[in-house]
């Protein structure tokens, strides 16, 4: 809990059990637009949920059946990344720190870079894919 930046606590946190792994999880810099946007979205989507950077928001049980896809589509549109099936690892998304880390890592990889030849580059080149998927 000590390494949590004070600004990252949207709501008072009383339940330390929800802390994922403060030791090994990435610690975002104090001022982080990715983190701020994510926190703002989550504070709205999961009212009453502790949103310290290492709080596991899935584990707190406030997510409904729409939330997982809302998070995916928020991340995709807000940060201009494509969440692929290869990215489906709950460890990428269970805390603010991890989701922000995921976004940063995705942005760091050029869309046509190695390891993405099986779809994402192709997908993001075709604007219709996104529409097809969600519409």
């Amino acid at each position: 809990m000590d390494d949590r930046h004070p600004d990252s606590i949207a709501d008072p946190v009383t339940d330390t059990d929800t802390v994922a792994n403060p030791v090994t999880d990435p610690v975002p810099p104090p001022s982080d637009s990715v983190l701020d946007a994510l926190r703002s979205f989550l504070a709205s989507a999961l009212p009453g949920t502790a949103l310290g950077i290492h709080d596991d928001y899935f584990e707190q049980g406030n997510a409904n059946s729409l939330f997982a896809l809302e998070l995916v589509t928020f991340v995709e549109r807000e940060f201009s990344v494509v969440v692929e099936v290869e990215d489906l690892d709950l460890d990428n998304f269970r805390t603010l720190a991890r989701t922000a880390g995921f976004v940063r890592a995705k942005r760091a990889v050029p869309p046509s870079g190695p390891g993405r030849a099986d779809g994402p580059a192709d997908v993001s080149a075709d604007s219709s894919t996104h529409d097809s998927t969600h519409g």
Binding site: A45, G48, N64, S65, T73, R77, D131, S132, T133, H134
Partner: protein, 388 residues
Amino acid sequence: MAEADGALFAGSVRPHAASWDRAGELPSGIVRDLARAGLLACDLPTRYGGSASPPLVLGRLCAELGGVCSALRSLVTVQGMVAASVLRWGTEGQRARWLPALAGGDLLAGFAATEDGAGTELSAVASTVRRDAAGLVLDGRKRWVTFGGRAGVLLVLARLDGHPTTVLVEADRPGVTTEPVHGLLGLRAAHVAHVGFDAVRVPEENLLAPPGFGLSHVAATALDHGRYTVAWGCAGMAAACVDHASAHAAGRRQGEVLLSDHQVVRARLGRAVVATAAARELCARAAASRQDGGPEALLDTVIAKYAAARAAATVSQDALQLMGAVGCTADSPVERFFRDARITQLIEGAEQVAEVRIGEHALRGHAGRPTGERAVDDRAAAADGPGR
């Protein structure tokens, strides 16, 4: 454009819809016919055989079909649900393998999620997938699978080591059995069936998304897409009911008085027109959200489906009331729409679950949770009943 093709296709099958409903089946060549007209999974990218149709075009197509035959619209719905799930959560290899077959009509898809003990509460599915040296083994019994009696491939929701998991299962694999459901209230030509899986061997490459994401991501994608096309189909159904009721009222004379000369008849038609227009506008709003690609699209689609299914149910009931005995005969489209519309209030999220979701969203941005636990605590806004 799929929309114009949809109108043409709908017009061409209009004379047959009543007999399909009576026979409880669609003609065997209908999947190919739909594919040839470019109406199956038309929202897929062109490289997978689709037309890259935007959400609004897909929606209007479903409204055209829904205004003629809900079983036909259901076929387009389930094909679209499975295609959307594979597009969204398939590997490139899976997309290349399944999507052209779905768009081309070589393969009809079904979505097998509901079980005896898991309808609205899909997180309770008890079907299991286990791994052994040779691949995957699936066991379970699925209920109310739309086109379950005809589908060549089924997207099945089960559990692997307890984790919700989705797997694509070809229907001709040993151990797959289907039991047709007859005498349903509505969607009688949609080949609804219960499907059993007894130690069905499935190759590992048929697993769609990693275990643990089958419900929250894959099934949720399928259901979201299904809600969207069901919504538009309902809007089309409501519009068709208004049309039939208006034509009847304008031409039907009782004694010396036209039915349409009664104020109460005009008022009821007016109410139906407004409900239909409102449903269509909410569908169009969902289309715009989906085009935009943001998180709002999920709830906007729930709202559209909720409103359109309600509109179809109330407007078809009003139309039936206006048409009297004529509307109640077996050959009346309105009688069929009335039965089909009722089913749409159950599928892809029962009305009550949708209300809870929409209400929850209204509470967002207000501090804290509402007191007490959620009345409906589900993981996927799906429902009992046929239509998936």
